[in-house]
Amino acid sequence: MNPRTTVFDRRRFLQVGAAGGAAVVLSTAVGAQPALGAKRSDLRVYVLVADGANPAEVEPLLMPRLATLRREGTWFGNARSLPVMETIPNHVMMMTGVRPDRSGVPANSVFDRRENVVRDLDRPGDLRFPTVIERLNATGATTGTVLSKEYLFGIFGTRATYRWEPEPVLPVTGHAPDAFTMDAAIAMVDEFDPNLVFVNLGDIDRVGHSDLTGPVLQAARKAALASSDLQIGRFVDHLKATGRWKRSIVVVLADHSMDWSLVTNFVSVAQILSARPDLRDNVQIAQNGGADLLYWTGGTDRRDAALEEIRRLVLAHPGVLSVQRPDQLRLGAEAGDLVCFARAGWRFSDTTPVSNPIPGNHGHPATEPIPFLVSGGHPVVRRGVVGSEPARTLDVAPTVGALFGLGAPRGGYDGTARTSAFTRLPAR
């Protein structure tokens, strides 16, 4: 089938077929050509993010397809997300391999001092470090992004050779269901066959956020886990059915896991500071579920003493685990002046007690454990291995880079190439 093409601005929009006869609209940079006839590496790497999954959930009864990939590949049993354990910063770390103090992306939500507003980091310009996507493109390889969440589509922007804009996006959640996301991923592979495809599957996370049975049973979430597993299975089956499996390396991981709180278990920093207008009126709060970022907006002469006092007051709350400086976590200036983490079973709700009523949250250390596996049909994949290495989200870019023979970026990676997942690196 030939894609229907529309040129708009500097992008081309391509409407291609998908399973069930639905149409998928992909965009590409003007001048980029489909794979046909291009001289590129045979290697295909697919990074699939099961957004919000917990490693303990990858078990045969709940997620049989992931469990099979795990069994047939290398599983990193000590894998963790990195602060702040939110979606945008960890996807950025995956694709840059560097910490937020170098990428400029420490959290989902920050206080933008220049614009004087609390906002999501969802603009392409918010990410100031080159991603492995652009760096691969520069070598002649092609790349694709299939990201189910609008803010992810926003921050990665037009970096990839081929992009899918999430559609249909559900109201409230701001994401496209996994079935549509996977339709798009399959269509992109069929139509353009990029060397690297970066996919975010949002259902596990989005259902987890709203699962009212979360504190005890996580009943709704379990259904989402099974559904997402099915979609990943669809993708693998498609690679196999189309003869791509033997040149495919599949990396499956999560950006963070999830923790649930009772409706009463919230921490409101604004409420804590309400009796101290001298502090409250000089602080901006960027709420990130299990984490709050605090920004001092008052005079510099009072800053140190005020922050110490805020720290003392916030730490006294039973739901607060820690209050740290951003530099202790390598979060950079965008993270403000203090980073507050919740205990397990608690969430932040700012600036009002009803600002964050959802039971499922992440961002705090309880949500650090993630699944992280490397599998696929490529002969270099090491099979049936479980490793203790401390794999992290920011190890994805160095690993992908090593597979494609890409050198380290300027200043080097902060992550580590997890080459123990391979018997050798693929020939180039």
Partner: protein, 568 residues
């Protein structure tokens, strides 16, 4: 580690017979203690007569311990001349040469040195051999005046960042000389697969003959023939235990990692006293404890000297760290009853503040996968079932050395972490708050085998099974357990107690109140598994060890489950 140590040699007359109540089980059973007519084995006699020759002898074996990637502690005791007995304060200062080699024939010496020892440290020799290669087997020996010690082997820990496919360790505790033979040690010594031997405490017992033995039978009497209360007593008791050939054999096959529990000093010890210590009559507690600790430092292959801290951490590559705890030196006094309101005091501590921080730091180490804790007493919450008959309830009370709680549902043993619930909640909360996975508490003390989940919330656990870690408990090498206390045949009356405990505590998956023996733990990136082995008869020097049961902890689950087969 320098061996010169300003030890004090004290040879006071034996202390008066101490008062002891809770464990006078033989008397409760209506039988007096008696020395058993069990055939003596080589090395089992309480005081071996030295040969008439005046050459130095290595009568107490050799040992190693606390492996680091580049170092390991080597240990022996030299008897320079006949009569230079442990605890005697007699004997000259001598030089002892230590040697390490990659081959048993010592064709090439990898490391060596000379150490001076004398009566100030009871002629024990302890060397921290450094600049070794990581993850490497070494043979070692000692020489003194032309006499060579037995050769033994040891192994350094893997490099800190090494990928480690497997760590296998013996796990033992509670070896009461008077209660039987150390056949558990012998069976372990025959294995060729141990990287480490983990001893969780009660390596020696303080009692006099007749005070605590195998039910009412003293299989072999303690030396000195009195409760140890002074330095010479503690030294002699350690020396007696180290004449056991099975103990020597197990020390010779792999490095040990040890901690003490209470009986290395006195029963139910705490910071300022012990249940089995009578102030005044038996001296002041701090002095008695310093004697016990000095003898321990002298006689154990451990990186510890008096005045230091026993709690410490070892690491085995990226696979695991092992935090060894001292839960006797810093703890608050045990409450008198499990319903004492003081139990819930927010500042009650079993670890002491510094060790508490040390423990939390080790658990939070995200550079290693498994967080193992050498934990002398159980941390699992255990509620006393109210369905036990009176006799069984009294027996369990005696096992844990505490009165039977007046109502079901209260903690059954306040000498364990159950007696310090606020601090335990902080530890378990730390695991949950930090998303810490793959934590395994390895425990002794309680003379019974257990495999337990560690629920963060006892109310919701039966519904969701959520657990933040696990605890695996080895049984005693010889010390009395429930069938011994109730004077019942093994695996008869105790079965009812086990059933009631498990029903009342659904997070307890395995419980064997009766058997003696040992455990073997294997840790790999995909899981941890413990095999429990039980002895056919602890009073039989030729007893067999039979595999009893295995439980596994799949990585990332924080839950125990039955393992289909024992470790290969």
């Amino acid at each position: 580690m320098a061996v010169t140590h300003d030890g004090q040699c004290v040879t006071e007359p034996s202390a008066p017979f101490p008062r002891r109540t809770a464990l006078q089980l033989a008397a409760a059973a209506g039988a007096g203690a008696a020395v058993a007519a069990v055939p003596s084995r080589a090395g089992a006699a309480p005081a071996r007569k030295p040969p008439a020759s005046a050459v130095p002898r290595f009568l107490h074996g050799v040992a190693s311990g606390d492996p680091l990637p580049d170092a390991v502690v080597l240990w022996t005791r030299v008897t320079p001349r006949p009569g230079d007995d442990p605890g005697s304060g007699l004997g000259p200062v001598v030089d002892v040469i230590w040697e390490m080699s990659a081959d048993r024939q010592f064709r090439r010496i990898a490391r060596s040195g000379t150490v001076r020892t004398g009566p100030d440290r009871d002629h024990t020799v302890k060397v921290d051999a450094t600049r070794l290669a990581p993850g490497t087997w070494y043979f070692y020996r000692f020489r003194c005046q032309g006499v060579t010690s037995p050769v033994a082997r040891t192994r350094t820990a893997p490099a800190l960042d090494a990928t480690v496919a497997r760590l296998r360790m013996a796990v033992v505790s509670c070896a009461n000389w008077q209660a039987g033979w150390f056949t558990a040690y012998r069976h372990l010594a025959k294995r060729q697969d141990l990287d480490v031997v983990l001893h969780l405490g009660d390596y020696v017992y303080e009692y006099a003959p007749g005070e605590y033995q195998a039910r009412d039978v003293v299989v072999r009497p303690h030396d000195p023939p009195r409760e140890m209360t002074v330095l010479a007593d503690y030294r002699r008791r350690h020396a007696q235990y180290k004449t056991d050939p099975d103990l020597q054999a197990l020390h010779a096959v792999a490095p040990w990692v040890v901690t003490w529990d209470d009986h290395e000093s006195a029963n139910d010890a705490w910071a300022e006293g012990a249940e089995n210590h009578t102030p005044g009559i038996e001296g002041e507690w701090r002095q008695r404890r310093s004697f016990a600790q000095q003898a321990y430092a002298e006689w154990m292959p451990v990186r510890y000297e008096v005045g230091g801290q026993l709690y410490r951490r070892l690491q085995f590559g990226r696979l695991a760290n092992l935090s060894m705890l001292d839960l006797r030196t810093y703890r608050d006094e045990q409450v008198g009853s499990p319903v004492d309101p003081a139990l819930g005091a927010p500042d009650r501590t079993i670890t002491g503040p510094e060790q508490f921080d040390f423990l939390l730091d080790g658990l939070a180490d995200d550079q290693v996968q498994w967080k193992l804790v050498g934990n002398p007493v159980m941390i699992t919450p255990v509620r006393f079932p109210n369905a036990l008959d009176t006799r069984l309830a009294a027996g369990v009370g005696a096992l844990v050395d505490a009165p039977v709680p007046p109502v079901g549902g209260v903690p059954y043993n306040v000498d364990q972490w159950d007696g310090y619930p606020v601090e335990r909640a902080k530890v378990l909360g730390h695991l949950r708050d930090r998303g810490i996975r793959d934590t395994v508490f390895l425990t002794g003390d309680i003379h019974s085998g257990w495999a337990c989940d560690l629920p963060i919330d006892g109310l919701t656990y039966p519904v969701n099974g959520n657990s933040v870690g696990v605890e695996l408990v080895c049984t005693s090498v010889t010390s009395d357990n429930l069938d011994d206390i109730t004077n019942s045949p093994p695996r008869t009356t105790s079965l009812a107690a086990e059933t009631a405990f498990k029903a009342n505590n659904p997070h307890i998956k395995y419980l064997d109140f009766d058997s003696h023996g040992f455990s073997v733990l294997e840790v790999t990136p995909s899981g941890a598994q413990m095999d429990w082995y039980v002895l056919t008869d602890r009073t039989d020097p030729n007893a067999a060890a039979i595999h009893s049961v295995s439980y596994r902890v799949p990585a990332g689950t924080q839950k125990v489950q039955p393992a289909p087969r024992k470790l290969a």
